[in-house]
């Protein structure tokens, strides 16, 4: 039953993973492998989380150009970092307990998402209104971050700048493993809901007509999105933008909106782009390795691919 295109994608993803682990292996091999393994785990976790959460979010909102970042979770994260640096100073920020910080961040972001979803569940509120509230809150958090940043000294400001891009260089093994487990769990739930998601994608009324309990299903899916985004953001920083390209490319490649194909395709594309891009940047392009750059790079590639594919169909 596996689709041929999925097999090809999986093969490319595997090649990217192998390249990431083995290219330029020098010095203390065991140590380097350990380090790379940890980084790989984080990359895979982020790839899967971004891919799943974006596909899910687009399906539930019936909108192919949205990403979960519209719910304002990454803006809240950014605001949290800025506020922490502002109140504790860059030294205090640096000496925060990583585990505690991670837990607090995840919980805060999920709390915000629940705050947004609660009215949706209780009073049959319009999904668009929820999105609007998310945008507004996101804007508020961003403005507050900007305001606080202005009051920071240059040193502290650069710490905030660092925190506002995804970073795979200062990973804690235990948190990475914890995040990966959470993401795996959420991804498994997405996968199990793949048939339901096909129906949800038909739109609210049609889905209800086919026996979906809409409010329960939609809020459940959005909560899943929030968990995926929160865990991956708390682990490495905000990367939500990247999901748009992954989801669009997966849909283009698979020519279907069946989630049994779309979900794995999106995850594999994300892995190829993230792990492959990171490998290229680290070894091909001389060690410059911020994920922000990878994302821009990958974004350009994916857009090109999109254009080519579109002109062919």
């Amino acid at each position: 039953m596996p689709d041929r295109r999925l097999i090809i994608l999986a093969a490319i993803a595997l090649a990217a993973v192998i390249a990431f682990m083995t290219v330029d292996l020098r010095g203390n091999v065991a140590f380097v492998l350990h380090l790379r393994g940890l980084k790989l785990l984080a990359l895979l976790q982020v790839a899967v989380a971004i891919a799943m959460s974006t596909v899910l979010f687009q399906t539930v909102t019936a909108n192919r150009i949205l990403t979960p970042s519209i719910m304002g979770l990454d803006a809240l994260y950014l605001f949290g970092q800025t506020a922490l640096v502002f109140t504790l100073g860059s030294l205090g920020y640096a000496s925060l307990d990583g585990g505690l910080k991670f837990a607090a961040e995840v919980l805060l972001m999920i709390a915000l998402a629940m705050g947004l979803l609660w009215p949706l569940l209780r009073t049959r509120m319009d999904m668009n209104l929820m999105l609007l509230m998310g945008v507004t809150l996101g804007l508020l958090f961003r403005s507050l971050s900007a305001l606080l940043s202005r009051l920071l000294d240059p040193n502290a400001f650069s710490v905030v700048q660092m925190a506002s891009f995804a970073n795979f260089n200062t990973l804690r093994a235990d948190l990475t493993i914890l995040g990966t487990i959470a993401t795996l769990g959420a991804a498994l739930l997405c996968w199990r809901a793949r048939h339901t998601l096909d129906i949800v994608g038909l739109g609210r009324e049609t889905a209800i007509g086919l026996g979906i309990h809409w409010t329960r299903t939609a809020t459940g899916m959005l909560l899943l999105v929030a968990i995926l985004v929160a865990v991956s953001t708390a682990l490495v920083g905000p990367v939500a933008f990247f999901g748009l390209l992954v989801a669009a490319l997966a849909e283009r490649l698979m020519q279907t909106q069946r989630h049994a194909l779309l979900l794995p395709a999106a995850a594999l594309v994300a892995i190829i782009v993230l792990v492959g891009g990171q490998t290229l940047l680290q070894h091909g392009l001389g060690g410059a390795s911020t994920l922000g750059v990878v994302i821009e790079f990958a974004g350009g590639l994916v857009f090109l691919a999109l254009l080519i594919l579109r002109s062919r169909t």
Binding site: L202, L210, H213, T256
Partner: protein, 252 residues
Amino acid sequence: MIRIENVSLSHRDMPILHDITLSLEKGGITALVGPNGAGKSSLLSLIARLQPLQTGRILVDGLPVGSTPSRLLAQRLAILRQDGAVASRLTVRELIGFGRFPHHQGRAGAADIALVEAALEQFELQALAERFIDTLSGGQRQRALVAMTFCQGTDYMLLDEPLNNLDMFHARQLMRSLRSIVDERQRTAIVVLHDINQAAAHADRIVALRDGKVIADGTPNEVLTEDNLELVFGYRMQIMQIAGRPLVLQHL
């Protein structure tokens, strides 16, 4: 049987349905007629739980709409909406296949696949089976949506203006398919029709709605009188009798 008891609906203080009480027996075709804005679609969407009930009660085979699990209702009742827009990019075959979802929850068996093929054939959609819905003409899409609703295989079918966009040939065909399904398999269809003569020719019962109230209710011969039609549609039209059924000269 579908029982509608004292159902009223309003949107922001604008009344849409007034205290509607109706019993729709199992079996047969009931046509819902009335001018634009009479509340036909609103009534159907309440029966199909697409919007929550404000006052009153609706029972489908004794199951109260609103507190019955959605899936259970979807196995007994299917709705074709007036605005049949589908958000996804799907092929005709995929779309029709989704009609079976309430029964198999995503794991289609051989019987489900056979039913989809039968629906493709019945609605002459085989040639279009692999086409994407958004590449079809309005009438072809309408046929695909009707096929999906039929494929759901429910005892009750609510069809909101199913003849929209259909040419004469396919409109007649659809009403005949509906008739044969209803007769052979003891199904019940509640159909919103704008062509009063389709209702006259094919319905067992006609319910006429205006301003959210039931104005007339009965067999075509009982409902389609000059007085009733003027009350519902606002002008007088001549009525003839052909083969024991009324023929309304609505266009003159």
